[in-house]
C-alpha cells in the first residue's frame, strides 16, 4: 500500500534545544496514525516541520511522495491541517471563515459554497453559520477549526491535539468525525497526550518523548513490550503478612509487592487468578477491603519505556 507520509531522520533544533532529534516513521494511506507523548515531547514541532511551517535542520518528510522541502506547495495541497491552537477570525462568522480558508485552498464559485455547506453540516453548525466566532463556545470553535482543514477534501488530515480543553460532548463529536473521515478514505495523523484517544482511534501509534520516537507499532504490539500482565491492586482489612506469602505461590502470579497500604500483584490473567486469591484470604481470616484491576495499556507502556507517567 502507498505511504501517505514518510519521515526520514527529521531534526529540528531551537538554539540548544533539540525539539525533534532524528525522527523516522511512515504512515500508510488510509490509516489513523497517532503520535502519543507528554507535553514537550516534540509532537507539535514534528507536525510544524511536516506541514512546512518550519524548515527542518536535517531530514525530510514526503507527503504522498512530495518532499516538503522541495515541493512544499504540492505537499501542502494534499494536507488539511488542524492546529493545536484555535486559529480563526473571531470577528467573522463560521461561514465567512470557511469561505476565506476555502479560497486559500484553491476552491471557488459553486464548488466552494457546496463544500462550505457540507462541512457546516459535518461539524453540526449549519444553524449557527452566520454567527460570529466570538459568540461560539470553545467546543464549537474547535469544530470550525477542524472544518477548515476538511474543506478541500485532503488526502491527509493532520490534527494536532484537537481535543485540548473542550467539553466531553464536543470531544466525542470530534473523535466520531475523525473515525468518519477515515472511513471515507482520508489518512489521519493525530497527535495527543490522551492515551485513551490514541487507543480508540489509531491503527498505529508512535510514542514520542524528548524529541525521539521511543516505540512505534499497533496497540497490541506496544502492549507486548510490557509483557501483557495485568496489574491487580488490593487492600486488606488487617495485616496481611501470611496472605502475601501464600499469594506469591499461586500459579499465574509473577510478583507481589506491598506499596504502603496497597498490595500490588502482577498476574498473567486476573480473571483466572482472582478466585484463588479470595480463597487464600478467607483461609487466613483476612478480608479484602478493595480491589482494582489494570489491564496493560499505553500508559503502562510509556511508564515502562521512559520511567515516567504520560501526564508528568
Amino acid at each position: 500500500m502507498e505511504n501517505a507520509v514518510e519521515v526520514k531522520g527529521l531534526k529540528k533544533f531551537y538554539k540548544d534545544v533539540k525539539a525533534v532529534n532524528g525522527v523516522d516513521f511512515s504512515i500508510q494511506s488510509g490509516e489513523i496514525f497517532s503520535l502519543l507523548g507528554p507535553n514537550g515531547a516534540g509532537k507539535t514541532t514534528t507536525i510544524n516541520v511536516l506541514t512546512g511551517l518550519f524548515p527542518p535542520n536535517a531530514g525530510d518528510a514526503l507527503i504522498f511522495g512530495h518532499s516538503i522541502k522541495k515541493e512544499p506547495l504540492k505537499a501542502k495541497a494534499l494536507m488539511g491541517v488542524v492546529p493545536q491552537e484555535i486559529a480563526l477570525y473571531e470577528d467573522l462568522s463560521a461561514r465567512e471563515n470557511l469561505v476565506f480558508w476555502g479560497k486559500l485552498y484553491g476552491l471557488r464559485g459553486k464548488q466552494l459554497q457546496k463544500r462550505v455547506d457540507e462541512v457546516l453540516e459535518l461539524i453540526g453548525l449549519r444553524d449557527r453559520q452566520r454567527q460570529r466566532i466570538s459568540k461560539y463556545s470553545g467546543g464549537m470553535k474547535r469544530r470550525v477549526n477542524i472544518g477548515i482543514a476538511l474543506l478541500h477534501l485532503p488526502k491527509l488530515v493532520i490534527m494536532d491535539e484537537p481535543t485540548v480543553g473542550i467539553d466531553p460532548q464536543s470531544r466525542r463529536h470530534i473523535l466520531d468525525n475523525v473515525l468518519q473521515l477515515n472511513k471515507q478514505g482520508m489518512t489521519v495523523l493525530y497527535t495527543t497526550h490522551y492515551m485513551e484517544e490514541a487507543q480508540e482511534l489509531s491503527s498505529h501509534i508512535a510514542i514520542m518523548d524528548q524529541g525521539r520516537i521511543v516505540a512505534n507499532g499497533t496497540h497490541a504490539e506496544l502492549v507486548k513490550l510490557v509483557g501483557e500482565q495485568d496489574r491487580v491492586e488490593l487492600a486488606l482489612s488487617q495485616d496481611g503478612g501470611k496472605v502475601l506469602k501464600e499469594w506469591k505461590k499461586v500459579k499465574g502470579v509473577s510478583k507481589v509487592d506491598q506499596e504502603g497500604e496497597k498490595i500490588v500483584l502482577l498476574v498473567n490473567d486476573s480473571n483466572a487468578v482472582l478466585p484463588e486469591l479470595f480463597k487464600i484470604a478467607n483461609q487466613q481470616n483476612a478480608r479484602i477491603a478493595s480491589i482494582a484491576i489494570h489491564e496493560p495499556n499505553l500508559e503502562t507502556v510509556f511508564l515502562h519505556l521512559t520511567g515516567k507517567a504520560l501526564r508528568d
Binding site: 492546529p83 477570525y89 465567512e96 485552498y105
Partner: protein
Amino acid sequence: MRKVLAIASKDLLRSIRSLYFVGISLLAPLLLSFLFSAAFGGGKESTAISNMEIALVNQDAPAQGNPNLGETVLEVLRSDGLKDLITVHAVGNEEEALQGINDQDYSAALIIPPDFSQVVTGSGKTTQLRIVYDPAESISPHVLENIVAAIADGFSSSKMMVDLAVEELQRRGGQADEQFYTQVVERITAQSENRAYATSSLLTVLNPQGQKGETENEIQQIISTIMASMMIFFTFYTGAATSESLLQEEEKGTLARKFVSPTPVRDILAGKFLGVLITLTVQICVLLVVSHLVFHIEWGEPGKLVLAVVALIVSAAGFGLLLMSLLRDTRQTGIIFGGVMTITGMLGGLFTGSIQNMPGFMEVLKKLTPQGWAQDLWQLLLNGASYREMLFPLAVLLGMAVIFFFIADFRFQRRFARK
C-alpha cells in the same frame, strides 16, 4: 492573484467591522476638524443666520411728489448684499406681522411709521423705526437691528447734511423752500442707491497677499488645512494600526495557518499589504466626501487630488508596515501609536500647519518625516498649485513609500522564512 485578493478583501471586511476603524479612522478626524471649525466660527451658526425670515410693515405715506423712503428701506433689505442673510416679506399691517412672529413664521418684524419719509425729508422733526422680535430668537433680532441701524444712520446723516446745507444757504442769504429740501434729499437717496450697500469707498480690508479680505474664505482655508492635517495624521495612524494585523495574526495562529496552506509567503504578504492599501483608500475616500459635504471643502482638481491621495495612501501604508516589521509582538505597538505616530505627526507639522513662520529647525525636522511631505503636498493641492509645483513633494513621498515597502517586505520575508 485570487488568493492575494481573498486575503486583502478579508482584511478590509474585518477593518470595516471594527469599532476602532469607525472611531479612530473615520470619526476622530471629522470630529476634531468639526471642533476646530466651530472654534474658528465656521459652520452651523452662519447657516442659522442666513435663514432669517423678516416681516416688513411699510406704513410710510409721503406727501405727493416726494420719495417713498420706506420703499427705499425695503429695497436695501432685499439687495444682493443681504439676500443670503435675510429674507424680507412685505406684510400689510402690524397685526399680521405680530401674528407671523407668534406663529414663528418670522424671526422679527420691522415697522416703518407713516411719517417716515416726511420726517426724513422735513426739517427739525423726529420719528422712529420699530423692531418687534420673537423672544426665543437670540441672534436674528440683533442682526436686523444692526442692519436697520446702519440704514437709519444713513438717513440721519443725509438729513443732517441737508439741514446743515440749508442753514449755510440761509446764512448766506439764500432761500430754501420745501421743494429745494425735497430735491436735495432725492439726489442723496439716488446716489446712495447707486452705490453698493454697506461698502465704503474709504475703507477696504486686505489680506497679506494684497487681495480683498474675505473672512469666510479665510476660515474655509483654515478649516481645509486642519482637515487635511487631521486626515494625514489619522491615515498614517490607520496605516500602522492596519499593518498591526500581521503581528496579531502571527500571535493568533491564523498567519501560521496561512503558511501551511498551499499559498506562497510572498502572496500572503502581498495580500496583507494590499489589505492595508485598500483600507486606507476607503478611509480617505470617506473623509474626502464627508468633509466636502459637511465643511464644504473644495479639494482641488480631480487629477491632482488623485495624485495626492495615492501618495498619501502608499506612504502611510509603507510607513505603518515598516514600523510593524521592526516590532517583535503586539505588546510593543503601544510605543508606536502613543509615541512614534504622535511625534512624527507633530514634527511633520500636522498640529501646527496653520501657524505661519515656524522656526527654521522645525522646517528641517518636518522634511524628515513622511507626514511633513504629505502635508506640504496637500497644502499645495488646496492652494491650487500646478502639477509642476506638486511634483517634488509627490516624488519624495512615493520614493519614501518604495523604501518603506522594500524594508518591510525584506524584514517580514526573513522573519517568516527563518522559523
